[in-house]
């Protein structure tokens, strides 16, 4: 058995424009600052949230449900932070 803890949570993308432009930039920035690697998945495609190209490849639009996941001791905290970010309106984020 692995001692690694996997945390996974679903969230609806709140940003009006979906996950690109400013919202995607905000997600990439936050993901790079989190203590563990956070992944975002949609329709079976799971990508590293630290990469803009990977995020764009998801094609996540406003109202789409995505799955946020992370592993390790900091997983719960990291997933909660990313879920909160995705559930907020990032359209005006800078």
């Amino acid at each position: 058995m692995s001692t690694e803890t996997t945390v996974e949570e679903q969230v609806t993308v709140a940003s009006k424009v979906g996950l690109h432009a400013r919202p995607a930039a905000a997600v990439v920035k936050a993901a790079n600052e989190l203590p563990t690697v956070v992944k975002i998945g949609k329709d079976g495609r799971v990508v590293d949230a630290r990469s803009m190209l990977s995020l764009l490849s998801l094609g996540a639009e406003h109202g789409d449900t995505v799955t946020v996941s992370a592993e390790g001791p900091d997983a719960a905290e990291a997933v909660a932070a990313m879920v909160a970010l995705l559930a907020s309106n990032l359209d005006e984020a800078s």
Binding site: V17, G18, H20, A25, L53, S54, L56, S57, G59
Partner: protein, 159 residues
């Protein structure tokens, strides 16, 4: 819904370009979209506006300049333009070797970027797009013939 395969034509593929800076590169990208009749000339101005407000750098040596949300009305038809800069362009501290300019309606924009991003995420395809001297290869990589696999067994829509 338009696919990337429908969006890139040979006239919009420019290899061996040089640009003084990223705004010059975006200007050239806008001109390419105007030249093929995909957008109103004012869309090119909106691309500059978008670039000034937020860099369109996406990683792997690529930028994807496009207009502001408000400028979508200036899009006549969905299209891409490909501009390669073999000497590189300083993109707000990042090294950009190719731009894929996007003209898309609000409905298409996210799916076009998704398809494009999946091509650019392939290291071999990305490297070839950054370095090829053959415009046909760009078309083959960004506008490939529909694959005959399980995902495309539905009849192709014809207009």
């Amino acid at each position: 819904m338009a696919e990337v395969t429908d969006l890139l034509v040979a006239d919009a593929v420019r290899l061996g370009c040089t640009a003084a800076d990223r705004f010059d590169a975006v200007r050239q990208a806008g001109e390419a979209l105007v030249r093929i009749g995909a957008v109103e000339p004012a869309y090119a101005d909106a691309m500059q506006e978008r670039e000034q407000s937020l860099s369109s750098f996406v990683g792997e040596g690529f930028a994807i300049p496009h207009g502001t949300d408000a400028a979508r009305a200036l899009v006549r038809r969905g299209a891409l333009a490909f501009l390669q800069f073999p000497e590189g362009v300083d993109w707000d501290g990042q090294d950009v070797r190719a731009c894929v300019a996007i003209a898309a309606s609000a409905d298409e924009h996210v799916s076009v970027m998704s398809t494009l991003a999946q091509v650019l995420l392939d290291p071999d395809q990305a490297e070839e797009l950054r370095t090829t001297t053959d415009p046909e290869r760009v078309l083959e990589l960004l506008a490939p013939a529909p694959e005959q696999d399980d995902e495309t067994q539905q009849p192709q829509e014809t207009l």
